[in-house]
Every structure is written in structure tokens, then in C-alpha cells.
Amino acid sequence: MSGLPLHGVRVIDLTMVWAGPLAASMLADMGAEVIKVESRRRQDAVRYLIYPKGEPGEDPWNRSGYFQRFNRNKYGITLDLTTRRGVEIFKQLVLTSDVVMENFTPRVMENFGLDYPVLRSIRPDIVMISMPAFGRSGPYRDYLGFGNSVEAMSGLSSMMGYEDGPPILGGVTFGDPVAGVHAAFAILAALHYRERTGKGQHIEIAQRECFTRFIGEAIMDYTMNGRVGRRMGNRHQYRAPHGCYPCKGEDEWVVIDAGSDEEWDKLCEVMGKPALAQDKRFFDSLSRWKNQDELNKIISEWTRQHDHYEVMRLLQGAGVPAGAVLTNKELLEDEHLKKRHFFHDINHPGAGVFPQVGPPVKLSCTPGSIRMHGPRLGEHNQLILSGLLGVSGDELDALVKEGIIGTEPLVAQQHFA
């Protein structure tokens, strides 16, 4: 895609599951040519998560919605890196590429004979990024981690939960996108450095470190004040009302955060209880904070009579921060997100239509684009191996025969992880 910021940048994406693939898809949205490399032995685990109607079908590895989300705009090839020929072809690919991304445990690339010193000897200005859960050094380097481990280990989960209740893991494992977005800008910073100096580099993101830094002030509350943050539900350290309130429909909720005196006055007005603003229990912010249980009861009585969008519109109309708690279904139907053209349907041959989102930020001159469905397993073997690397037709046949490339798994995984 000429005209896009990363046109002409070629990325080899060996990453799997979420964090790495997400980072690579951000680069792809902005014009990078991303080639996802899997193998017949081992496919991206999210190829085996969530099939249309829950039915794996004959080729489950091509039908996963999860895979589509994280791998749009990418080319896909298979290559068995445990074979000598597979590694040779990979090295040829490195020679023509700018970035190599992987998120295995550290020993995997070493075992393939494809760690950074090797890649650098092939292409001195290569930018390589490794994204192990725990880092490439230290006692836990070889331990495999998922998003839940990142969130749990970072300290965040211990602080999330209802007041005086147990900790809770978020409904979305947030460690992954945090590492993914950091990876994206680390790669951009490195590409920029390369343009200036001609030098490549090796970047290492230990995902759990990345996330611990993300909750810096809570960690420092311990390092400096010796305090272990307690779970506060939806409450705020010093503002009230600050909570999630039930609405008319079934399991329908609205969030309200009216911290200032002015917002509180407006809230009372909209609720049709202007006298409440003068009530001693809620007169100033400290009283509201101390009496928030009573306050929340009164607000809930009012919110229960309305639907969540209605509460949001009434309060926002009066300048009070409020928002409908949106479900997945509602997000897709939300008029604001629609008007901002946030959703894009993408047709996948064989598996149907999947909605896509983003890009997450809007650039006025180079907005990026969603161009291709996530690749079927080995979909672009011929295009990349013959078209780009000049592998002959005969050899391509031989590679298929030897199982080094192909479009079907050796053994269908059918399992996540």
C-alpha cells in the first residue's frame, strides 16, 4: 500500500496467540508487508478458538474468529523450522526483511538456530523483537506465560475486585494488548533509529515487566509507603458518587462519576431531587465520599427507572460524566462508533463475515486500512516462496511432499495452547 507510513517495510511474524500478533497487525494496518510464519507441526493456538456456530468443520484451523481478529492484513506461510531446508528458506526470507518478531520462550529460537546473533549475521540491520512472558534472563526465563499470568503476576489482579471480596481477573486479559502496543512502538522507534544510523537491534519485552510499569503508582505506593492497595470495587479513592448503577433492563448498567460540587448539583437536578444537593449528608465532597453507601442507594433508585442509554444522555446533557455499560452486542450497534466508522466487515472465504475494528487511532493523512482477511494456513506459500524468494515450481512440490510446507496441519491440534 503505497502512501501508507510503513509501505516497503517487511515484517516476519513468528508470534502467536495475542500480544505479538496484535503488534504485527498494527504495523500491517499502516502498510507494512507482514508475513506470518507457522508450520504444519505447530499453528497459532488461536486458530483453534471459536468457530462459527461452535462447529470446528473440516478445516478448523481456518475458521477461528479469534485468529481473524489478530491476523488481518497479513500473508501466511508454513515452514518447518526443525528441518535444515526450512531454516535455509527462513534465512533467505530474513535477507529480504526488516523486522523479525517472535514470542516463544527463549530457548525456541536458539533451538531453531535462529537467535539474534544468527539473524544479524545474515542481515546486520535487522530489527528483531522477542516477547517472552518473563524475559530472556533470570530464573524463570523458560516458563511459558499467557495473558492471565501477566495480569496476575504484575500486581494488578490483587487490586481488582469488590470491596472486601477476593481478587478478580479482568474479563479480558489485559497484559496482552499492553505488551502488544509497547512492542509496536518499540519496533517503530527501532526502525527510525535504523533510518538514522543504519543499525539494527534486538528488543526484548518481558511482558510481565511491561505491565508492572503500567501500574507504576500502585507499585510505588508499596515501595515508598509500604501500602498494599486494597480492593475497592468501583469506588474511587476520594470521589463520590463513582460507581456502576443498575438500570431498567435485565443486567443493564450505567457508570456515573460526578466528582465536583457542580456535577453533583446537576445530578440532583436531573434526578428530580434538587433538595438533595442541600442535604447535609451530601453537601460537600468529603460528606459524599463518607456517605457513599446511602448516596449510591438513592442514585440506584433513580437509575432503575430508566434504561442505561437514557441515563447517559440525560446526565451527559447536563455535563455529568456518565456512560452506558456496553455489552459486546451493544458496541457493534452503538451509533457513535458507527458514525466514526470504527467497524469494518471482512469476508473470509469459507468461514463467513467477521467484523473488524480500528485502527485504534485516526491519522488525518494516513489513516491506514483493513485490506485482507487473516490468512488460511499456508495460504501464501507459493506467493512468498516462489514470487518473493524465487523457489522453483519443482522445489515447491518437493517441499510439500517432504512436509516442510503445506496447507494442513500434520496433526490437527484442535486444542488451544
Binding site: 474468529g65 487490586m159 478478580i168 502496543v181 509497547h182 508499596y222 468501583n234 462508533l337 488525518s364
Partner: protein
């Protein structure tokens, strides 16, 4: 080592998302925090150093403003506007987080600043973006998380949707803004052209969590929060358990890749007489959380739950590391601080804070690299700490000008 970003100047007017400017500063750029006189309101965000509530002691401010310089400026006054325009001509990036349209209403929108400096990249971080029906809505962390779809899927099913334990929406928006600004920079390097970057915190949350949407799109399940359980396909797997001294999270998964580790867990349970016959004979190779009847997941959860109850976080994690099953402790900040892996990797950062006469311990860099190091150069600035340096030294204002501007409350 040379920094690739030391040639660039970033004006940081963002009160909501300071992490954006911090990333550029830590990469070596000259980041000037433009605060309103009296200080950025985020200086009042807790927690505070030694619990002293003071705009110069906010740990939140410390954490997300390292490496920046600070000047104060009232950009709502004519003098302030003129000074900001002069500064913007010297800058390569500007980031702000005022309500949508606020900068335009001051005559400081992209058309004005970008008109004078066409190479300028200007990013605006707002709750709902610059356009669309909610553009003028107010949105704090809680509102963005609720409207971004994250809260509905977090918490216990019988209780209210739950926010993250630490405010995060604008952190996400801030790092997404970094990516957008760097993309714009790649374009500028080739074309010389700057551009405007519109960042909606709501969209950043939706974008990052959109895979949960698959349950609706593909399976027509409007995914709900599940507390200690996590949805896998049509089933749920329990992933959070209390143990002897806290909590742990575990993925009980099968398949050829996981079978060995799961058998090791069962053997451990058996060695203490806590594995029933069915569990000892369990076929891990062919077990698929998503495709078995839910009762199988329930039975596994019961068995695992009973066992881990009597064990400490440390015992459990040690065995998990050894045998490779997916179990991790739910670390408190205290556990995080004492975690051996972080010390072994030299993660913690110590910064001198001469103004409080102390050395403060920070979480370190988000990544390591062989070139262009991510490095915190100095502590967060005091209010207007670099006024003289920037205004007199770099912008060429006279001492008298500065006194006059200070006297009229503009600086």
C-alpha cells in the same frame, strides 16, 4: 549510546495521559510539559509520597512524568497563546487531552498550529474522539471502561460490572497515541508532512478487547462477566482459586502439548492422596475444554480447588515452574517487589529526588534493547522547574518579560 529521538521536541499539554509524553522522554526526546499556572491537575492524583498530599509529591505524577521538563503557561490568555504558538513552531510533536474542540476554541487547533508549522504532528487524546455524537461527552477512567465494553465482562455475574483496580483507560490511550504519532512520524520522514492524530480512549479499549466480541459475532453469546471462570468456546473453565495464603490462577487445559504438565499436577495431587481414580486415568491428550460437556470442567475445578486450598502460593508456583503447568500466583504489590525474577533482571529503577532528600524506587523500563535504550533520565519535574531555562534560555524572553508574565499570572 545515541538516542534516535534527541533531535525532537514534544510539547506535552496532556493532563489525562502523561504516559504518552513520558515514552518520548524516556526514548530521549526533549519533552516539555506545559502546565497551567499552579500545576497540572493530575499532580493532585494519589497516592502521595509518604502520604503527604502535595502537588510535588504525587506518586502518580512521579511515575508518568519522568524525563520531562516543566514550564507553566496559561494558554487561555493572549500572551499565553502567543507563547504557545512560538513554542509550537520549535516543536515536532504536540499532545493534548482537553475536551474535543477546546484547542480550536482558543485558536490553538491543528489548523492554527499546523498552519504555522506544517510538519507538526499533533495528537489529541479524548474520551470519545473529535467527531461523532458523543464527542462532547465527558469521560473519566470509569466512563471509558464502561463504554469500552470492558466492565460488562469483568466481575461476578450476580454483581455489578467491575472496573480495573487501577485507573487505566488513559494509559492505554496514551500508549496508543505514541504508536499513532510514531506512524505519523514515519510518514513525515518520507514526505515532510505533519498530521493530526485523533485518539479516542473508548475506541482504544474496544480495539484492545475486541476479541471477546467473537462470542457475539460467531456464537451469538453476549458474553457476560464470569468472576472466577473464563469462557472457552461454549464452555467455561475456572481460572481463579483461593490457596492457603492468597490466590492463584491456573489454566486447566488438555491436548498433546499440555498433557505431560497436567499429568505432573495429578501425580503431585496423588502423592498426597488427593487424586481420585477418574482423575488418575484422565485422558489429557484428548481433553478439550471447549468441546467436552461442561460437567467435566466443573469436576476438574472441584478437584484442583480442593488441592490448592492447602498449599501456599510459593509452593504451587515452584511446582508449576518445574513441571510447566500454567499456574501463577496473584501477586500483591509486595510480592511483585520481592519477586526474584525482577531483581535478577535488574528491573527496578532508583531515582534521586533531591527535593525530598530521598531515593525513590520505580518500576523500570518496559523493554530492553541493544540500541536506542529505553532509559529514564531524571525524575519528574517540579512545577515550572524549567521556566527560566526554556523561556529565557531558548525562547529568548527577557528577564523583565518573564517577571511581567509571572506577575500577571500567565506563567
Amino acid at each position: 549510546m545515541e538516542s534516535a529521538w534527541s533531535l525532537y521536541r514534544v510539547l506535552d499539554l496532556s493532563e489525562e495521559a502523561p504516559i504518552c509524553g513520558k515514552v518520548f522522554a524516556d526514548l530521549g526526546a526533549d519533552v516539555i510539559k506545559v502546565e497551567r499556572p499552579g500545576g497540572d491537575p493530575s499532580r493532585w492524583r494519589g497516592p502521595f509520597y509518604k502520604d503527604v498530599v502535595d502537588p510535588e509529591k504525587s506518586l502518580n505524577w512521579f511515575a508518568f512524568n519522568t524525563g520531562k521538563r516543566s514550564i507553566t503557561l496559561d494558554i487561555t490568555t493572549n500572551d499565553g497563546k502567543a507563547i504557545l504558538k512560538r513554542l509550537a513552531k520549535t516543536a515536532h510533536f504536540l499532545v493534548e487531552s482537553f475536551p474535543a474542540g477546546h484547542m480550536d476554541s482558543l485558536g490553538l487547533g491543528y489548523s492554527a498550529l499546523g498552519g504555522a508549522n506544517p510538519a507538526l504532528i499533533m495528537a489529541a487524546i479524548t474520551p470519545f474522539g473529535q467527531t461523532g455524537p458523543y464527542a462532547s461527552y465527558k469521560g473519566t477512567d470509569l466512563i471509558c471502561m464502561g463504554m469500552g465494553g470492558l466492565m460488562y465482562v469483568s466481575g461476578e455475574p450476580e454483581q455489578a460490572p467491575l472496573r480495573m483496580g487501577v485507573p487505566e483507560a488513559y494509559l492505554h490511550a496514551g500508549v496508543e497515541a505514541v504508536v499513532g504519532m510514531m506512524m505519523a512520524h514515519m510518514h513525515r520522514v518520507r514526505s515532510g508532512e505533519g498530521q493530526y492524530v485523533d485518539v479516542s480512549a473508548q475506541e482504544c479499549i474496544v480495539w484492545e478487547t475486541f476479541h471477546t466480541q467473537q462470542f457475539w459475532d460467531v456464537l451469538k453469546i453476549n458474553l457476560k462477566r464470569q468472576g472466577k471462570w473464563r469462557q472457552f468456546g461454549l464452555n467455561a473453565m475456572r481460572w481463579l482459586y483461593p490457596c492457603k495464603d492468597g490466590y492463584i490462577s491456573i489454566y486447566v487445559l488438555g491436548g498433546p502439548m499440555r498433557a505431560k504438565a497436567q499429568r505432573a499436577l495429578v501425580e503431585w495431587m496423588d502423592s498426597e492422596g488427593m487424586a481420585e481414580e477418574w482423575l488418575k486415568e484422565f485422558d489429557w491428550e484428548n481433553f478439550n475444554t471447549m468441546l467436552v460437556p461442561q460437567e467435566v470442567n466443573d469436576r476438574l475445578a472441584d478437584a484442583v480447588g480442593r488441592f490448592v486450598q492447602g498449599k501456599t502460593k510459593a509452593e504451587l508456583f515452584e511446582k508449576a515452574l518445574k513441571n510447566g503447568f500454567f499456574l501463577v500466583p496473584i501477586n500483591t504489590p509486595e510480592d511483585v517487589f520481592h519477586f526474584p525474577q525482577l531483581a535478577a533482571r535488574d528491573f527496578w529503577l532508583k531515582l534521586e529526588h533531591e527535593e525530598v532528600g530521598d531515593v525513590i524506587t520505580y518500576p523500570g523500563a518496559p523493554y530492553k534493547s541493544t540500541e536506542t535504550p529505553y532509559r529514564v533520565s531524571r525524575r519528574a519535574p517540579l512545577i515550572g522547574e524549567h521556566n527560566a531555562e526554556v523561556y529565557e534560555g531558548e525562547l529568548g524572553l527577557s528577564k523583565e518579560d518573564l517577571i511581567a508574565l509571572k506577575g500577571s499570572g500567565i506563567i
